[in-house]
Subunit: 404 residues, 2 copies
Amino acid sequence: MKKADADIMRSTNRRAVLSALRNNGAMARVDIGAALSLSPAAVSGITADFLAEGVLLELDSKAEPAKLARGRPRILLNINPNSALFVGLRLTFDRLDVFLGDALNNLVEHAVYTTDTRALTAEQLVDFIVAGTNSLLEKRSRNISDVAGVGIAVQGIVNETQGRIRWSPVLTCTPVNLGEALERRFSVPVTMDNDANTLALAHCVDRPGAQTGTTISVMIGYGVGMGIVINGEIYRGNRGSAAEFGHMKTGLSVTGPLCRCGARGCIEASVGDYAIYRDACELLGKSPEGIVAPDESSMVEIGEMGRGGHTGILELFDHAGTVLGIGVSNIVNLLAPDTVLITGAGTRSFDLMRKNFEQAMDRAVLTSVRDITKIEVMDWNLDFDGKGTVAMAIQHWLEERSNA
Amino acid sequence: MKKADADIMRSTNRRAVLSALRNNGAMARVDIGAALSLSPAAVSGITADFLAEGVLLELDSKAEPAKLARGRPRILLNINPNSALFVGLRLTFDRLDVFLGDALNNLVEHAVYTTDTRALTAEQLVDFIVAGTNSLLEKRSRNISDVAGVGIAVQGIVNETQGRIRWSPVLTCTPVNLGEALERRFSVPVTMDNDANTLALAHCVDRPGAQTGTTISVMIGYGVGMGIVINGEIYRGNRGSAAEFGHMKTGLSVTGPLCRCGARGCIEASVGDYAIYRDACELLGKSPEGIVAPDESSMVEIGEMGRGGHTGILELFDHAGTVLGIGVSNIVNLLAPDTVLITGAGTRSFDLMRKNFEQAMDRAVLTSVRDITKIEVMDWNLDFDGKGTVAMAIQHWLEERSNA
DNA sequence: TTATTTAATTCATCCATCGAATTATATCCT
DNA sequence: AGGATATAATTCGATGGATGAATTAAATAA
C-alpha cells in the first residue's frame, strides 16, 4: 500500500491524461475531463503543460466533418507523434529486426540484419545490435541522440526491471545484462521484455477493453509463448519468469515428445513449429535439415500437404489442436480471462488445428465458465512485433513524462 | 487509469496506515511514517482522526520491556480490536460454520449448524443462515446490530462484487444472490467469496511478504480449489470465475476418471477426497456409502491403510501425488508465484503423496524457474477458514473506514 | 445583429501534506 | 539531583494541485 502526496497526485493525473489519449485517440479537453472525472480547470492546466512541453498537439479542427452542435468548437488534442522517435528491436533465431516508430506508434522504418545469434559473445551481440540500429537510423538521416527510447523483445526468460536475459533459446551467452549494456552504449532508456509479453502489449494497446480485466495472448510459432495482461499491465511473476505456457504439461507421462527445454510433454513439443517440422520429417522419411529452425516455406509446405489430404500430416495437426485446446482450457479454468488471443506465425495452419482445438475446449472448459472468455484467432505479421517493441519504449517514455 | 484529488489522497493515506498496522502489528507513529514515507505531521493527523473514531488504540506502554534508547518513548498504536465485531460464515456440504471475531481477527466464538444444504430452497437457506448467526450472537449476549460486517465463504463459483453464487456443489438453488438477501436481512455489509479465496486471504493476512508478489493457496479437501493473491489482492478473473485449479486437466484423454463437474481428467477427480474415497472403495470391494461426501474418519482410515503398506491404496496416493505435482508445476511455469501453499483437510495424507509430488515437480518445472517459487505444505484446521471469512469482513470494513 | 450554446480559461478557495519549530518525555552524565 | 541530550509527537505556516464559479472564446440559431 503506497502513500499519496501532491507530487503523486500531479503525476497520477498527468499519466491519466496521456493514457486516455493513448487508448481513445484524439480527444477534446471536455471529454478528457468527463472520462477521468477531472474538473475542466485541472484538464486545462495539465494539457497546457504538455502542450508547452511538446508532448501534446492541438489538432487542426478545420479538417473535421461538419459540426453537429453549436457552441464553441472543441479542440481535439493528441499525443504529438513527432515529439519523440523510438527504436524497437526484436531478436530471434538468426535475425535482428529493427523498427523505427513515432510517439503514436506508427512504424516509419524497418530493417532486418541476420547473423548466427547463438555464435555471438555478449560483446559481439551488443556490437551487432548497435550497428544495426545505427544503420537504420542513418537511412532517415537521424542518429541515436534523436531517439527517446529503445524497446527490445527477446525470446526466453527476461527480467525486465534489470534488463537481464536469464536464458534464451537464441543465445548462448546467457545470462547477460543486455539492457544495461545497450543503455550504456546508446545513452538512452532501454526497456526489454520477453517477445510474447511484447506482442501481448501490442495487442492491448489497440484494445480499449484490455485496460481492465485480463487479456491473454498465446503466441504460437517456433515455440509457444504467452503474455498475460491484467488491468493493462503485463503480469510478470517472480523475477519475470511467468507465462511459460509453452512448457505446461498436458500429460503425466515421462515418455511424451521431447521439448527443447529438456522435459517431456510440454505443449510446445507438440504445437511449436519445430515440433511439427520434426514430426513431419520423420513421417515423410526425410531427415530434418541441418538448420535448427524450419523456415517459413517448409512450414507452409507442410500445411499444404495437410490441406491436400495427407493423413499423417493431418494427424499431427489434429494432435496439436487437441494439445493446444487442453492448454488453453486450463488457462480459462485457471484465470477466467476476458479474452484469449491466439496469434503468431503458427496461425498459418490454425485451420487444420481448429476442429480438435474446439473439441478439446468444449470438453475441458468448465460449463459454468463457458462464454466468459472470448477466444480470438488473429492473423499475425511482423508489424505486430514491431509495434509491440516500440509500444514498450513509448510506455516507458510516457511514464517518464508523467513524472516530469 | 484513475485520477487523483485531495479526497483520494486522504483515503489512500488512511488506508495505508491501516494496512501497515494490519501487516506489521502494533507500530509507533514514527515507524508508520518511516514505512510509508509520510511526514510526522501527516501521521499525527491521520492517527488522531482514527483514535477519535475509535478505530485505533494507543497501547499501554507500561507493559513493555525495558527501554533500549533514551528520548521520549514511542507510543504503540494498533487497530482497536473492540472497535467492531465481525461474523464469518462458512457454508460447506451439510454444515454451516459460524465464527465471531474482533477487528484484529481474533476468533472469540464458533458454532456449527448442520443440515442438508442441497435440500434447501433459496429462502430456507437464508433463514438457516440467519438463525445460526443469531443463535451464536446470543451466546455472547450480542445481536446483529453490534456487528460491523459479515463475510461468507462458499464452495463453488461466486461473483463477489454482487454476492451472487453462480454454481455451488453444496447447493441446488443456484444461481442465488445470497449476499444481497443476507444484507437485507442483517442490514449489515455482507461480503462473499469462494472458500479457496477466503482461505488464501487468511494465509496472506498473516504474511507480510504476501502483500507484494504472487501467493497461491492450493486447497485440497473434498475437492481441489485455489486462491490466487497478487500484490495482496485476490485475483478473481472475469465474473469471479478464476482459480478453478481443481478442473485443470493433466491429460488429453477422454477416458480419465470422472469429475463431479462432468468432465474427465480433472485434477480433482484424482486428488479430491471424494475421488480417493471412491477409488479406495472400489479397490476394497466396498460399495461407497450412500453419503456424497466421505467423513473425516473414513479418509483417515484410508490414509492409515496406506501407511500400513496396502499397495493398492499406496498407488492411489502415488497417482494423486503425481497429478497434483504436474498441476502445481503448471501453475509455477505459468504464474511464477513467490509461494505456493498447499493446505486443506487433504494434507492429512500428504506424506503419502509427497514422493510422487516432488518427482513430478522436478520433472515438469522449467529448470530456469526452479527455486523461484517456494512450496509449503501447511497443516490445516478449521480456524484458518474462520479467520479467512472474518478477514474478508474486516477488509471490507477497513476499506469503508479509510474512505470515511 | 443578438441570443444561445458549448468549450476553454482564469482566479479565488480548499484541503491534505510537508517542513520547521515547538513541546513532551525519556535516559545519560556530572 | 539537575542539566544535557536524544527521540517522539504535535503544532502551525507554507506549498501545491484540484475544485467551483465566474469569465472569456467561438461557434450556430433566430
